[in-house]
Point group: C2
Chain length 185, copies 2
């Protein structure tokens, strides 16, 4: 491994814990990500000096995250791995998985808690707070869904507009008002 690749790989190892994956998994992903060609588990184990079984587990986790893809070559039974190249696709995948793992369970819990009837004033206050939290999370995730449905090109445009988006909003308000349409609330 060249020093350049080595530093990239070890950074992912160190950050892994902050990102909710472990050191090994982070390094494996980094190595696959920068490799020009798909690589197999033995190559990974050798490069990173991990046990073969550790690599196997790490790859399983990366597949569960849908961050790596399996490839086969003719006359070679070994499994090779590559990381999808489209950065947007990776981002989308990551966002979806994090949502599924980190947000949905909380939404369910909140929904259940809001169904209970609160006997005490304490409980009523707690439910009020939970309602706030639930509302925000739902608003955010719905928006995110909408955004995700946009194709990469549109998304790029939208992002390119940045904060000037509020000018656009004002503008459409004016048009609607001028044409007698019901204004946004």
């Amino acid at each position: 491994m060249t020093p350049l690749v080595r530093s990239f790989v070890s950074h992912f190892g160190e950050m892994g814990s902050r990102w909710g994956i472990n050191r090994t998994v982070g390094q494996i992903y980094a190595l696959i990500y920068v490799s020009a060609e798909p690589i197999n588990a033995d190559q990974i184990a050798e490069e990173l000096e991990f046990s073969r079984s550790n690599v196997s587990m790490g790859l399983k986790e990366l597949q569960a995250w849908r961050l790596v893809r399996l490839r086969h070559f003719p006359n070679d039974r070994r499994e090779y791995f590559e990381a999808p190249g489209d950065a947007w696709e990776v981002f989308r995948t990551l966002a979806e998985e994090r949502r599924r793992r980190e947000i949905e369970p909380t939404l369910s819990m909140l929904r259940a808690a809001l169904m209970d009837d609160a006997a005490s004033a304490e409980d009523r206050h707690a439910q009020e707070r939970m309602r706030d939290m639930h509302g925000l999370i739902e608003q955010l995730t719905n928006w995110f869904d909408d955004i995700q449905r946009l194709d990469s090109a549109t998304l790029s445009k939208l992002m390119g507009m940045g904060s000037t988006v509020h000018k656009l909003l004002d503008f459409t308000d004016k048009i609607k008002r001028a044409t007698g349409a019901k204004p946004r609330t």
Copy 2:
């Protein structure tokens, strides 16, 4: 603690590890979040049956995350804690902190790696991949900055529009083309 509050608190404990904080810290936050009044460290320790020192460490971490706020009452030397009530503010804070801790370090590493000159073809390919990653992260974080600068009301409108935002983009394109302005690329 009522069953309602208990279930909320323990959910935050369980999710804590997925969110990059530990069980204790998650539970402490949850308890402060739903409390009608600010509470002090001893009350937290008693409710959650944690050692006083554990609570102290947890509170320190929550303060580092800017998720809790310190309050004092007259004739009482103890420190009381409350969680900001505006859900949007909480979201903003969380996003800023995560960015600082989880994204900025990676951006720095990538920038440094892209400055190195790549000797081998392998390194050149790796740099290409890193450039992709860097570009995406920067685009996302810049956009996020822009969005965060919007006030809550505008943000709400934007989110309310959801995916119809692309219609708006098409529409402005048409106007610009009709008026002879240079179209967006």
